[in-house]
Structure formats: C-alpha cells, structure tokens
Amino acid sequence: MPTVIEVHKLTRRFGELLAVDHAEFQVEQAEVFGFLGPNGAGKTTTIRMLTGVIDPTEGTASIQGHDIRTEPLLSRAHLGIVPEDANVYLDLSVWRNTMLMAELHGVPRRQRIRDAERLLDLVGLAGRKQQKARTLSRGLRQRLMLCTALVTRPEVLFLDEPTTGLDVQSARLIRQTIRELNRGGLTVFLSTHNMDEAEGMCSRVAIINKGHIAAIDTPDRLRSAMRSSQYVEAGFAEPAPDAMDLEKLAGVSRAICERENVRLYTETPGQVAAEVVRFADTNRLQIVQLCTRKPSLEDVFLQFTASSKVEAEE
C-alpha cells in the first residue's frame, strides 16, 4: 500500500516545553491509524502540525507526497478534519456550513450540492438543513463537522477525539460512517482516548507519551509483545485462595484475588491454567470459570504511559 502520511523528525516546542519530540511514523493508504496518548502527550499538537494549523519547529511531514512546509496548499487539499470541539460556524445554517467548506476546497457546484445532500442524509441532518448550527446539540454539531469534512472528498481524514462526550447514537453513527468510508479506501488518522474505539477500528496504533512515540504496531502485536501482561483468570465456587499461595505456582509472576476470582499474570498462560486446575484438585476447590487472556489495548497503553503517571503523582 502506498504511504499517505510520512512524518519525519516532527518536532514542536512552545517556549521551553517540548510538545512533540522528533516523531517518526508513516500511515498507509486505506489504513485507520490510531494515535493514543494521555492528556498533554502531544496528540493534538501533532494533528495541528499535520493539518497546517501550526508550523513544526523542526522536521517535516508529507501528505500524499506533498511536504507540509514547502507545499502547504497542496498537502491541505487532501485533508478533512474533525476536531474534538466541533468548530462549525454557529450563525450559519447546516447547509451553508457544508457549502462553505466545499467551496473553500474548490469542489464544483453540482458535485458539492449532490454530495452535501447525500452526506447530510447519511449523518441524519437532512431534515435540519436550514437550521442554524447554534441550535444543534453537541452530538449533532459533531455530525455536521464530519459532513463538512467529507464533502470535500478528502483522501485523509483526521479525527481528533471525535466521539468524546457524545451521546451513544452520535458516537456510534460517527464510528460506523468512518468504518464504511475506510472500506471505500479513505485513510483515517484517529486520535482517541477511547481504547475500545481504537481496538475496534484501528489497523495500527501509535502510542505517544510526553511528545515521544513510544510504540507503533497493530493492536494485536502490541498486546502479544507484552507477554508479562498476559493472565489467567479463574473463578471459584468459594472465596478465592490466598494470593501468596497462588504466586507459588510455576510460571505465575503476580496474583490478584478479589472475592471468588483470581487473576494470575504470567508469560506462559497455558502452563499456569494447568497449574490452577491441579491446585484446585489438591485443595478441593471447585473451579466455575477458567480462561486465559491477552492484555487489552488499555493495558498496553497504561504500560507505555505509566512512567508519566508516576512522575505526575510525584
């Protein structure tokens, strides 16, 4: 697949603060690329640089082969953006907001009218065309943002926490629309706090922490790479045995017990599951549930961002 976004040593300082530090990554065509990180990690700053809102202090990036520094207009011609706060023109109607973005991208008249009708229908705003954006709820404004981004027929769609704070219907509609468009070949750059969203939508994710890219890979590979965070979960018919006893089992690195349930962290989940069965037989315990689990993307995220949390607490 051809590379759509290529980021090379992208750096941004705000005075003494190093917001993004030599970020390097590529996003391929038709990929949903997740960009994860705690608050203040540099996600939005990276997006703002890639979309031309602010200039990088060092390094550069290209979008569809156009350098954001030397060919800013060409690189921005391929973008659609949905920021966290729907910054639509509140005093313009839904229709005029959509038309404005299309006109600024130079979309021909017939095409923009046809596409706007279709997209407003798709996001459930067809009946509110003449309504001013001011009168829309947060969820509906975000749908309008998506519509104004898509009416320009972008090749890359940047979404900066697009579903944060939205009602379930709006969030689901936005995710569903993005998935469908991605199946049609749209490249998506998704910054999110929502791990389920990232896990369910992204083909690859990058974890950014304190301006550094800490990891980039598919969610599956990132989880598998964290062998020490795999675990066996067991449920007993009676209160769980003592954690100290369970930690003595071969292969168990850590045990957490809570009422009838135990979670045993290990690099060899199969072996530990067999050990748990043996332990239950020996101690005449009844197992009601036993399963092995890989770490979730949330576990991976916490692992890579743990250092910043510790520092913050200190």
């Binding site: 031309g52 207009l73 953006i81």
Partner: protein
C-alpha cells in the same frame, strides 16, 4: 503546463477562495453589533457633535461625513473577523483548508471595502438629497471611496493581527488608532487650519488622503494634490497589507 500558467491558475483559485471568504464574512459579520456600533453609530454621533451649534454650511460637511463613514466601516471588519474566529476556533478550520493566508486576508480586505463603500453611499445620498452639495467629479469621488476603503480595510486586517483573549480587546485597540487619526485628517477642520504638529500627523493618516480625494469629488479644495493622495493611498494599502501578512504569519507560527 508551464510554471507561468500553473502560477496563474493558483492565483485564480486563491482569488476565488478569497471571494468565498467575502461571502462568508458578509453573511456572518456585516450585521454584528460591534460593526454596527463602531461602523454606523460612531460616525453619526461624531457628525452631530461637530455640527450642532456651529455655523458650518451643511454641504461643506458632506465630504467629511462620507470619509468618516468610510473610515469607520471599512476598517471595522478586519478587527472583528479574525479575533472572533480565533475565539470560536473557526480560524483553525480556515487555515487548515487549501486557502493561503494571503487569500484569507484578501477576503477580509475586500469584505471591508465592500462594506465601507456600500455604507458610505448613505451619507452621499443623504448629502445630495438634503443639502446643496453636488458631485463635481464622479471618477474622483469613486476613486476616493474605493482607494480609501481599500487602505482602511487593509489597516483593519493589520489591527487584527495581535493575539487577544477577547475580540473586544482588538476593537479597543483599533479605536485607539482610528479615533486620534480622525482629528488630524481634516475631517472636522481643514488640515490647513489645524495646529502645525497635527498637520505633520496628517501625513501619516490614510484618512487625510482619502478625505482629500472625496472633497475634490464634491468640488471642494483639498490640502494634498490629487496625484499625491492617490499615490499615498496605494502606498498605504500595499504597506499595510504587507505588514498584516507578516504579523498574521508570525502569530500563526506561534500557534496563536
């Protein structure tokens, strides 16, 4: 495609997008309260303050009224649009579209010019209808309104460049510049009759030159020769747009 035609096409596209900005500004900002207050009420009150109780022939006041209306209206759009859009974060959307900063600013200048030119028609029409004023030269009057509007609107976008937490701060700043210049530009009292220090200040005010060309349009005498006024208005426009581009670019680079 040659480099020349490619460049021409880019310019054409950017000009078209500047016109889209004009349409957007007209829909959103022409009727905003600060524009109406500073653009329309200010000139009216200044006129009343100047006229009431003074034995000045009304027809002598008309060119000054036109220039003053143009001054306040054309320069009101720039200081409103950018700060307002920065606050609403719609400015971020604009600069992430394939529209250059120059095109965005050109859109604001044209918006100011159109707004100023349209509203300055009101004192022209009222002056012609209610006083003995008459237009001696339509081309000169049109040149005064258009070139004046252009330079005042350019000053407006320059005033909008600094970052401010609230749009009202920029409006205050713009009035700090506009109000003093009003008194040294021959609007209320001819430049030849104002103190020497103020006569010097008149040289750095685009309003002095626009006012002069408009006075000539009404067949009255002006302090500066026409050729100098036209030249200075063009120089002011170019200089103010150049400075505005520079400062806006600097603000953007800082992420403001």
């Amino acid at each position: 495609m040659t480099a020349y035609t490619e460049k021409a096409q880019t310019w054409r596209r950017q000009f078209h997008r500047a016109l889209v900005m004009v349409k957007k500004n007209a829909r959103l900002y022409y009727l905003k309260p600060p524009v109406l207050i500073f653009g329309i009420l200010f000139p009216v009150f200044f006129f009343l303050a100047f006229k009431i109780g003074r034995p000045v022939p009304p027809e002598d006041i008309v060119p000054g009224m036109v220039a003053m209306a143009l001054w306040f209206t054309a320069s009101a759009i720039g200081p409103l649009v950018t700060p307002w859009e920065r606050q609403a974060k719609t400015y971020e959307r604009l600069i992430s579209t394939p529209v250059s900063l120059k095109a965005i600013l050109a859109g604001d200048v044209i918006s100011g010019l159109i707004f100023g030119a349209c509203l300055s028609l009101i004192p022209i029409v009222l002056g012609l209808a209610l006083t003995d004023a008459h237009v001696a030269s339509v081309p000169l009057l049109a040149a005064g309104v258009l070139l004046g509007g252009l330079s005042f609107a350019s000053m407006g976008i320059l005033l909008a460049a600094p970052h401010a937490s609230s749009p009202s701060n920029i409006m205050l700043l713009s009035n700090l510049v506009r109000l003093p210049l009003l008194f040294v530009s021959g609007i209320f009292v001819p430049i030849s009759q104002i103190p020497a220090w103020a006569r010097w200040a008149a040289w750095v005010s685009p309003l002095s030159y626009a006012g002069g060309v408009i006075r000539r349009g009404f067949g009255l005498r002006a302090y500066f020769p026409i050729w100098l006024s036209v030249l200075m208005l063009l120089v002011f426009t170019a200089g103010l747009i150049w400075a505005a581009c520079r400062f806006h670019r600097r603000s953007r680079a800082k992420g403001l």
